[in-house]
C-alpha cells in the first residue's frame, strides 16, 4: 500500500465532491436525478479554456503554480457562465415539464437527452482531442510519509475547502439558503410561507452549475480537458451524492472523498483499467447496506 494513493484519492475525491454538491441539491430540491450535471463540469472547463486562449494575457505562471492570473479570472467567469447555462437549461427544458406536472422520470429522460446533446456540442466545437490549460512542468513537494503533491494540487484542495465552507454557510446562514432547505423539505408549505419557489430553483441551478464548473476547471488543470471529462465523472458523482445522503452538502463532499479514495486504492490494488467500475461498486454497497446514505435521513 502506497501512501501516495491517499493524496491522489483526496484530490480526485475533492473534485467529485464539488460536483456531487450540485447533484445532491438538484436532487433534493427539484427531486430528480440530473444526468446532464456532468456536462456542466466539462462546459465549465471549456468556457475557461476558451476565455484563456482568446484573451491570451496573464499567462505567465504565478509563484510555484503552473498558471497565470488569467486562469483565475477565467475560472470565475466560467463559473458564472456555467451557472447561467444551468439556469437556461432549466428554463428551456425542465421548467415546462414542471409547469405541466410531468412525472419526474420524464425529466430524467430529458436530462439524459440534454446530456448527450451538450456533450456532442462540445465535441463538435472543440473536437474530442484532449487539451491542457498549461504545459508548465511542476515539481512535486514532499509532504512526509512518502507522500508528494504539486503546488497546484495543494492549492486545489484549499480552494475546494473554501468553496465547500462557503456553500455550507450559504445554506445554513443566508435567507436564500434557508429558503432552499424549506423548499427541499416541503415545497407547498414553503410556497404558503411566502417563499418564491421559482427564485429558489434558479439559485439551485446556478449554484450547482457554478460548483460543477469549478470542479471542471480544477480537474482540467490537474488532469486534462476533454468532452467526456464530465460524463465519465457522472457515476462517481451519483455514488458520492447517494453515499453521503441525498440533500446533505457535508455528505456530498464526504461521499466524494470516500469515492475518490476508493478509486485510488482500487487503481493501486487492482489496476487503473477498473477505475470506472469503482463508482458502481460503491453505489451497489450503499444501496444494499444503507440506502439513505451516511448523513441522510430515513424515508422522506
Amino acid at each position: 500500500m502506497n501512501a501516495q494513493a491517499l493524496i491522489d484519492g483526496l484530490i480526485a475525491g475533492a473534485m467529485i465532491g464539488l460536483g456531487a454538491i450540485g447533484v445532491t441539491l438538484t436532487y433534493s430540491i427539484l427531486r430528480f436525478a440530473n444526468f446532464a450535471h456532468g456536462e456542466f463540469i466539462a462546459w465549465g472547463a471549456y468556457f475557461a479554456l476558451a476565455l484563456v486562449s482568446t484573451l491570451g494575457v496573464g499567462m505567465d505562471p504565478i509563484g510555484p503554480f503552473s498558471f497565470g492570473w488569467m486562469l483565475i479570472v477565467a475560472a470565475v467567469l466560467a463559473a458564472l457562465l456555467t451557472g447561467g447555462l444551468a439556469v437556461l437549461l432549466d428554463r428551456l427544458l425542465f421548467a415546462s415539464f414542471r409547469s405541466r406536472g410531468s412525472a419526474t422520470i420524464i425529466m430524467v429522460i430529458a436530462s439524459f437527452g440534454a446530456s448527450m446533446a451538450l456533450r456532442a456540442l462540445l465535441e463538435f466545437v472543440f473536437t474530442s482531442k484532449p487539451v491542457y490549460f498549461t504545459r508548465e512542468l511542476q515539481i512535486a513537494v514532499r509532504l512526509g510519509g512518502g507522500m508528494r503533491a504539486t503546488p497546484d494540487q495543494l492549492l486545489m484542495l484549499a480552494v475546494t475547502a473554501v468553496l465547500v465552507l462557503g456553500v455550507h454557510l450559504l445554506l445554513t446562514r443566508s435567507a436564500i439558503g434557508r429558503q432552499m432547505r424549506a423548499v427541499s423539505e416541503n415545497p407547498t408549505l414553503a410556497r404558503l410561507a411566502g417563499v418564491d419557489v421559482r427564485r429558489v430553483i434558479r439559485w439551485v441551478w446556478f449554484l450547482g452549475g457554478s460548483l460543477a464548473a469549478s470542479a471542471g476547471v480544477m480537474s482540467g488543470l490537474l488532469v486534462q480537458i476533454r468532452p467526456y471529462m464530465g460524463f465519465d465523472l457522472l457515476l462517481p458523482l451519483f455514488a458520492a451524492a447517494i453515499l453521503g445522503g441525498i440533500g446533505s452538502v457535508p455528505g456530498a463532499i464526504l461521499g466524494g472523498l470516500i469515492v475518490g479514495l476508493c478509486e485510488s486504492f482500487a487503481v493501486e490494488l487492482i489496476g487503473a483499467e477498473w477505475r470506472a467500475a469503482v463508482g458502481f461498486v460503491v453505489l451497489t454497497l450503499v444501496l444494499l447496506l444503507r440506502p439513505q446514505g451516511i448523513l441522510g435521513q430515513v424515508a422522506r
Binding site: A103, S115, M116, A117, A120, A277, F280
Partner: protein, 335 residues
C-alpha cells in the same frame, strides 16, 4: 436495383434488431414505468454471451464453444433476464431514479468488463467469427440479406406476440395498474415490487436477445458498440414511436434508424473528409435535441399508448366506469 434490395434488407435487418431491444424497453418503461439507463449493458451481455458460446474455438481467449446459434440466443435471453433481475432486486424497492442510476452504472461496468476481461471477451479487439445465420448463402448477397431479414423479422414477430400476449394478460394489467396508481394496486393485494422485478427481467431478456441477434447478423462485436449512445438511440426510438405501445416501439425503431442513417449520409457528404468525426457529434446533438422536443411537444410519440378500457366495459360503453384500469385488476388471479 440489386444494390438497393441488398441495402434495403441490410437496413431493415438492423432496424428490426433494434426493434427487439425497444420492445424490451417498452415492457420496462412503457408498461411498468421502470427507467433503465443501462440498455447498452443488457444488449452487450446478450451479444457477448451468445458470441462466447457459438464462436469456434479461439486462441488467446476462453471458449469459443462452437454451439448452435439457437443455443446462444437462448443463453442470451437467460443471461439478460438473470442480470436484469439482480440489478432490479437491488434497487426496485427504493426511489425510482435509483434504478436509473444503478442501471447506468451497470452499463458502464459491463462495457468496462468487455474491454478488460480480454481472456473472455477478446478485449478492445472484440470477438470475431461469430457464426452468421445462412452463412452458406453468403455468396449471393441479395438472397443472404433477404434470408437474414426474414429470420430477424420472425424473431421480432415472436417477441411481439409474446409481449402483446403478456400485456393483454392479467399480468400486464397489474403492471399498468401499478404504474398508474401503486397504492390502489397494492391495496388489491398485488406485490408491486415483485411484478416490477418480473417486468424488468422480461425486458432485460428481450434486450439481450436483440443484442445477440445483432451480433450474429454482423458477425463481429467490440466494446465500442455498447457505449451510452446505444442506450440513447433505443430510448429515442421508443419515445418517438410512442411508449406503452408495442407497435409504436417497432415503428419508432425503423423511423429513428432511418433518420440516423440518412443524417449520417448527409453529414458524410456535406462535411469534408477530415471533419467526419465532428459531423458525427453534430448528428448526436440533433437527435438529443429531437428527443427533448418530442418529450415537450408530443410526449405520446407517433402512435402512443392505446387507451386501456376493460373489455367488458368497452362492449357496454357505459362511460363512467371506462378507463378505471385499477378496477380490472380484480379479475386477476392472485399470484
Amino acid at each position: 436495383m440489386i444494390d438497393l434490395v441488398g441495402y434495403g434488407a441490410f437496413f431493415l435487418t438492423i432496424a428490426l434488431s433494434y426493434a427487439i431491444i425497444a420492445l424490451g424497453l417498452n415492457v420496462q418503461w412503457g408498461q411498468t414505468g421502470l427507467f433503465n439507463v443501462g440498455v447498452a449493458g443488457f444488449v452487450a451481455i446478450g451479444a457477448y454471451v451468445s458470441g462466447l458460446l457459438t464462436t469456434p474455438d479461439a486462441t488467446g481467449r476462453i471458449g469459443g464453444f462452437g454451439l448452435p446459434i439457437l443455443v446462444g440466443w437462448l443463453a442470451a435471453i437467460l443471461a439478460g433476464a438473470l442480470l436484469a433481475y439482480a440489478v432490479g432486486w437491488l434497487t426496485i424497492r427504493l426511489r425510482a431514479d435509483y434504478l436509473a442510476i444503478t442501471t447506468f452504472g451497470f452499463a458502464v461496468t459491463v462495457q468496462l468488463a468487455a474491454l478488460n476481461l480480454e481472456s473472455l471477451t477478446g478485449g478492445p479487439f472484440g470477438m470475431s467469427f461469430i457464426p452468421r445465420p445462412f452463412a452458406s448463402a453468403a455468396g449471393d448477397p441479395v438472397r443472404f440479406g433477404l434470408l437474414n431479414l426474414g429470420l430477424v423479422a420472425l424473431v421480432l414477430l415472436v417477441a411481439y406476440f409474446v409481449v402483446e400476449h403478456l400485456t393483454a394478460s392479467p399480468w400486464g394489467r397489474v403492471l399498468r395498474a401499478i404504474r398508474e396508481d401503486e397504492p390502489a394496486a397494492v391495496s388489491l393485494g398485488k406485490s408491486a415490487a415483485r411484478f416490477r422485478l418480473q417486468a424488468f427481467a422480461v425486458g432485460g431478456a428481450l434486450m439481450a436477445l436483440g443484442g445477440a441477434v445483432q451480433a450474429h447478423f454482423i458477425g463481429f462485436i467490440a466494446p465500442d458498440n455498447y457505449l451510452p449512445l446505444l442506450t440513447f438511440q433505443v430510448w429515442t426510438m421508443l419515445i418517438v414511436g410512442g411508449s406503452g405501445n408495442n407497435r409504436g416501439a417497432i415503428a419508432g425503431s425503423v423511423v429513428v434508424w432511418a433518420l440516423w442513417a440518412v443524417s449520417a449520409s448527409v453529414i458524410g457528404q456535406v462535411m469534408p473528409a477530415g471533419e467526419q468525426a465532428r459531423g458525427a457529434s453534430l448528428q448526436i446533438v440533433l437527435i438529443g435535441v429531437a428527443l427533448c422536443v418530442i418529450l415537450l411537444l408530443r410526449p405520446r410519440g407517433l402512435i402512443g399508448e392505446r387507451r386501456t378500457v376493460s373489455r367488458h366495459v368497452a362492449g357496454a360503453r357505459r362511460g363512467e366506469r371506462s378507463g378505471t384500469m385499477v378496477a380490472t385488476g380484480r379479475e386477476t388471479p392472485t399470484p
